[in-house]
């Protein structure tokens, strides 16, 4: 390939066109290891224990309420007919969506060679795994008899029946379980070289054994790396299709049904965008906390947060387009039921939720047009929290507002969540953040082997003459 011969070097470009530095200050491979891997070997600070106590208490409350639900039956929830989906499915779609940012960062941005992704990919992938784990709880609880949830999988059984593969709910089972296993595999492959680093630097025998097993004898030989890089890139390529398919399939649960307000072709791209939107908000929130508390400001820089905030802004504009498009589709349908459902979104019983969604998702993120706000902690935390709230309520509007007015006015019901519903929602956040906190202390929060690739001087010069 002679392309390299005409490549313009960075120094020849005017400053505005140069690739922005992904690091703040000098970082060497060795200092990176000390900075990222050392916290794993230390005793966590007091603040960590306080945070852990809070999140695990909330988690425990959620788990107890889940146990109460299972033991008593889902009658303890506010669900009614016609609002049979309610909180369980809202939370499922919400948490699955949170997971999407991780795969986007780790897979799609890897394909785009976005160098800044290397610093945040590990954390975002971990959030993906935890979010999908949390999400998976809800459909299982929602089936009412969770101990029979395995009936969803096609296995030869005494009853000689097979699941209905034409049902979007069945597609969902396959999409979410594939998504989880592939994300876990991808995460583990990325972690493996880091496990090797931890194995070689830790003094404790127990830790050494633990990390040695996880590193499966990784020794960093060039012949291994060549297979590793190829496999990693291929998984990233396939995971790109996967991440787009997962939330599309989730949206099929709605779009393939005949409920007014759900039966729309815009749903798959609309859901995928919303998922990435909410996911990035969560990543930004976590990154602000991680870079300040774990002293990683030179690796996760303001530039990273700036870029992620730009993605949030982009997604916000796309969401605005999707909302307008929904209204347009409703009007263009000339169908009184669709008209009614759409008006119910903004002027019905749950009209307040509709306006809250629009405010949080469309109006507030517009602050990010200002560079100074994209780089200010209070502003980005405010927007990230707003987006998280907004995206949760968007699913609330889609599910509860569409369902509570059925085709027959005699079937209309107002839905009200019970305390158990709210407790389990809070518990899901507790579970998620407990897992995140544990992760931050047990595993390296930054992919060191991936970061070392993009450090200055990490790669040999292209004109180095080392290979013809």
């Amino acid at each position: 390939m002679n392309l390299e011969a005409v490549t313009v070097s960075e120094e020849m470009l005017p400053p505005v066109l140069r690739t922005p530095p992904v690091l703040d200050g000098p970082v060497s491979p060795g200092s990176l290891d000390d900075q990222v891997l050392a916290p794993v070997e230390r005793r966590p600070p007091r603040a960590w224990f306080i945070a852990f106590a809070c999140t695990s208490t909330v988690m425990l409350m959620g788990l107890i309420l889940m146990g109460y639900t299972v033991a008593t039956g889902i009658g303890v929830w506010g669900n009614n007919i016609p609002v049979a989906w309610a909180f369980a499915i809202i939370n499922f779609v919400f948490w699955i969506g949170i997971g999407h940012a991780g795969t986007l960062i780790s897979a799609i941005l890897l394909l785009f060679r976005a160098r800044w992704r290397n610093a945040v990919s590990r954390f975002a992938e971990a959030m993906t795994i935890f979010a999908v784990m949390v999400a998976g709880i809800f459909p299982v609880l929602h089936v009412g008899r969770p101990w029979l949830a395995f009936w969803l999988f096609p296995y030869p059984n005494q009853r000689a029946i097979w699941p209905n593969f034409r049902s979007p709910l069945m597609w969902d089972v396959f999409a979410v379980s594939t998504y989880f296993s592939v994300s876990l595999l991808f995460w583990y492959l990325g972690l493996m070289p880091d496990f090797a680093s931890l194995r070689d630097r830790t003094k404790s025998r127990v830790r050494k054994f633990f990390y040695a097993v996880l590193a499966v004898g990784w020794r960093g030989s060039a012949s291994h790396w060549r297979h590793f890089e190829r496999a990693y890139l291929i998984i990233a390529g396939i995971a790109t299709g996967l991440v787009l398919s997962v939330h599309s399939v989730v949206s099929f649960d709605f779009a393939v049904s005949l409920v007014p307000g759900w039966h729309m072709t815009i749903f798959p791209p609309y859901f995928v965008t919303g998922a990435i939107f909410a996911g990035f908000a969560m990543v930004v929130m976590a990154m602000v906390v991680v870079r300040t508390t774990m002293n990683l400001k030179n690796i996760i820089t303001m530039y990273h947060l700036d870029v992620m905030n730009k993605i949030i802004l982009t997604c916000s504009c796309l969401m605005g387009y999707a909302y307008l498009m929904e209204g347009w589709t409703a009007w263009y349908s000339m169908n009184q039921y669709v008209h009614h459902t759409f008006w119910a979104y903004i002027a019905g019983t749950y009209g307040w939720a509709g306006w809250l969604t629009i405010t949080c998702n469309i109006v507030i993120p517009q602050l990010f047009w200002v560079r100074r706000l994209r780089r200010s902690y209070p502003a980005m935390l405010f927007v990230a929290v707003a987006v998280t709230v907004g995206m949760w309520f968007e699913r609330f509007v889609i599910i509860v507002s569409s369902l509570h007015h059925d085709f027959m006015p005699s079937a209309w019901q107002v839905y009200k969540p019970t305390l158990v519903d709210l407790g389990i929602l809070a518990g899901s956040f507790g579970l998620f953040f407990t897992l995140v906190l544990l992760f931050a202390r047990v595993l390296p929060v930054i992919a060191t082997s991936e970061m070392k690739v993009v450090l200055p001087g990490g790669q040999p010069r292209r004109d180095g003459g080392s290979h013809e």
Partner: protein, 381 residues
């Protein structure tokens, strides 16, 4: 000594030094060259003369197998083994099978890529590799770059290789020995293994028993197996009066029920037969008459019953003058309420069926009391 040498390895500070060293060492010594780096170095495969990774081909083949097997499985289960029509779709509705086919393809492809790379191509896990015990390993996983000449069975010329590595700029040289051969299995190890396997069997055995036998019959798993209900005709303490069944709410009428308020046969005279005398009504009447009435009143309605004389009661002769003079409503009332030994047939016959029977009784009366004038003058030939 030297025939037990696995490799001679030199450490470098940067990827650039490593890349510069490779051609220098390659020219000086023969033997397998291998580099150890903390992260992938671009262009090192070509420099070391490594072949391109075959992961792509493996992934393509396994992805294809995933796609075909998922589609075939879905078509077989939904179209052949368990053919149930859902949502009015054809049995072989392949369009609806695409999402799952896609997911299974992704699953097969990704796991082939990840696990195939680890287990097949890289031959991991490999915990006894001599490199893992070297002094250089912790440096390599941190920030150093190693170039090694490795033995593939042949005896390495340690001095010559060391000189070549030094010349190429290596700061540190390490000679790594072959690992000790594994000794024979000790009885102590065998005992431990046996105890371990035994324990595992016990635990799995009990867990299986628990899952299959105990878990399904515990609370709340049994909640839906035992459902309290009120049975008709049974005493139940749920309601105060002790009956399981309920009386209809005052003033309500059951669907399809028409109240019948006539008390006596004379009052019934006002009822008029609402049905026309058509062929289908009469044949309906004949069917119901034959089914319910003919047993006692005889197939001709003349009171010659098929009952045994021991029964005692004498069924009415429906074609006698007395009954011929009854208005339609009176016959209807008798069917409705019964007469003498005859019970009510209200439950057996619907309103329309009763009126049809009345029509048919009139037919029998006319047929058995025919006049000469009823015979047509012209007998059709």
């Amino acid at each position: 000594m030297s025939n037990r040498t696995f490799s001679v390895l030199g450490l470098f500070d940067s990827s650039q030094q490593l890349m510069d060293a490779i051609p220098v060492v390659k020219a000086r010594v023969s033997g397998r060259l291998e580099a150890y780096t903390p992260y992938p170095i671009h262009g090192i495969e070509e420099a070391l003369g490594l072949r391109k990774s075959p992961v792509g081909g493996m992934v393509f083949i396994m992805g294809l197998i995933g796609a075909i097997s998922a589609l075939a499985f879905e078509l077989w289960t939904e179209g052949v083994d368990y053919p149930v029509v859902t949502a009015g779709k054809p049995l072989f509705s392949w369009e609806a099978f695409i999402p799952i086919m896609f997911e299974v393809t992704v699953l097969f492809a990704c796991f082939t890529s990840g696990l195939g790379m680890l287990f097949l191509l890289n031959r991991l896990p490999f915990f006894r590799h001599p490199m893992l015990r070297s002094r250089s390993m912790p440096l390599i996983t941190r920030d150093k770059f190693a170039l090694a000449v490795e033995s593939e069975g042949q005896v390495l010329d340690v001095d010559r290789i060391t000189a070549a590595l030094r010349e190429a700029g290596a700061q540190t040289i390490e000679v790594i020995d072959q690992p000790e051969a594994l000794g024979p299995v000790s009885p102590r190890f065998l005992l431990r293994a046996a105890v371990g396997i035994g324990m595992a069997c016990l635990v799995t055995g009990y867990l299986t028993y628990w899952c299959m036998k105990l878990f399904p019959v515990s609370v709340p798993m049994v909640h839906m197996l035992d459902q309290p209900r009120l049975d008709p005709q049974r005493r139940d303490s749920y309601f105060k009066d002790g009956f399981g069944m309920r009386m209809p709410v005052a003033g309500t009428v059951a669907r399809g029920h028409i109240p019948y308020t006539i008390k006596t046969e004379d009052e019934a005279a006002v009822l008029a037969n609402p049905l026309p005398r058509t062929g289908s009504v009469l044949s309906k009447g004949r069917q119901e008459f034959t089914t319910y009435c003919s047993v006692c009143h005889g197939i001709l309605g003349n009171g010659v019953s098929t009952l045994t004389p021991a029964y005692g009661a004498k069924p009415a002769n429906l074609v006698a003058d007395k009954v011929r003079e009854y208005p339609d409503g009176r016959i209807y009332h008798v069917i409705m309420m019964g007469k003498n030994a005859m019970p009510s047939y209200a439950a057996e016959l619907t309103g329309d069926e009763r009126w049809a029977v009345v029509h048919y009784v009139r037919v029998l009366q006319r047929a058995l009391n025919a006049r000469d004038t009823d015979i047509p003058k012209e007998i059709p030939r």
